[in-house]
Symmetry: C2
Subunit: 227 residues, 2 copies
Amino acid sequence: MQHVQTETSPPLSARTVGARDCAVFEFGASRINGVRSRFERNEEIFGQDEQAEHVYVVHSGAVRTVRYSSEGRRQIVCFHLPGDVFGVEFSPRHAFAAEAVNDADVLVLRRSSLERAAAETPATGAALLALAARQMHEAQEHAMMLGLKGAGERVAAFLTRLAGRFADRSALDLPMSRADIADHLALTIESVSRAFTQMERDSTIALPSARRVILRDWRALHQLQSA
Amino acid sequence: MQHVQTETSPPLSARTVGARDCAVFEFGASRINGVRSRFERNEEIFGQDEQAEHVYVVHSGAVRTVRYSSEGRRQIVCFHLPGDVFGVEFSPRHAFAAEAVNDADVLVLRRSSLERAAAETPATGAALLALAARQMHEAQEHAMMLGLKGAGERVAAFLTRLAGRFADRSALDLPMSRADIADHLALTIESVSRAFTQMERDSTIALPSARRVILRDWRALHQLQSA
DNA sequence: CGTAACTTTGAGACGTGTCAAATAGCGTGG
DNA sequence: CCACGCTATTTGACACGTCTCAAAGTTACG
């Protein structure tokens, strides 16, 4: 339902900003103008408690939204892949920070543009509401997972959800490090690594390299999740 | 900002439904008509995946919103105290169930009434948005707590938040059982009990009875939370 | 006053975190 | 193109915390 579409450079209008391209985001029934911006690995896209003046769409790469506890430990709220909208807030400020996991192209929209489109076009308003509903649901699923599941089950659930995002369900390339996964699942790097190793031993997955995962036994993966 | 106000029975209009009273809920800048309904301890107010046709306000007592995992374990998403709105959804169906913790009086509003008021009155729409933002924020705080904190810290944080809801910050009467607290904090009953006992040993709190908590050392309580 | 539900306490098992070290992968510069 | 060094990942041994199971104690209510 969401689709990012980079405009082919019109030869007559010289863009004034070197590294930035204009682009259009199709959301609901509206087309919203934005600016394409590149962020390098680990670069901050917006900070926690910053004024939420923009809304973002991942064009390529991956983005993480992250919160830091008072003691400095971090929790990764969510990973965002191409096509995902992030940074949408109900309040005037961002509740968390966003950082590029890898080098990433991000479409930056004015928040007011999106809100105006949502107010003017019912279908767009509905899409925005649906987006909020999904976010809410995911936040609660996440809390439930952290409370109810063990290390192995969390990792299995994580892989399953991630694989569901891609066309090829038999293999996936993880954009993020073990540390990122650990902070998302509220585990240590070691526990995540051990979970991967265990699944490889059980022939549930194969690991040609650390970041590449072959999903060999989909059934076992699903069984693990709900353990 | 929210206030429940039971209408004094107008002598001329006979209410047709015996056990139910009409009442008005002041929300944002609107006054919304609803029906006051009583639920007894552990009674279901609405079920998971049920059509979300109503919105609810706690008048007296306490309510829990709850989800069940595929294996039957339950997680209490949130406790709702007098004045709290619950059951507000973005999607057509309820993402969780709601049950009365104790005997509780609940004000039941038509969802459409609230949505109409929000659409017509900007201040009310803003209030609804603020409500959604708070819910979102709390869901994420909760996930963060489950991921980052130990048993003692979770219980301390729980007590602190609960105490903050009442006028008297030096003592509180827990409306819910240890089992409810455990399922909210993703712990076992025993772990919750041990955390209480430990805090009593440290003179952080006193427990005249299982449900009554005297907060003796507010500073220690805050320190515990962030451990 | 008795019974059922709730709470507390104890002992031991299990799982994850911690610390330390070995290994693999990757980009950089010679 | 290879060697180097840095970072990421894996593995192991052990400590610590929470869960499990069992039983005693308490409270509320008929």
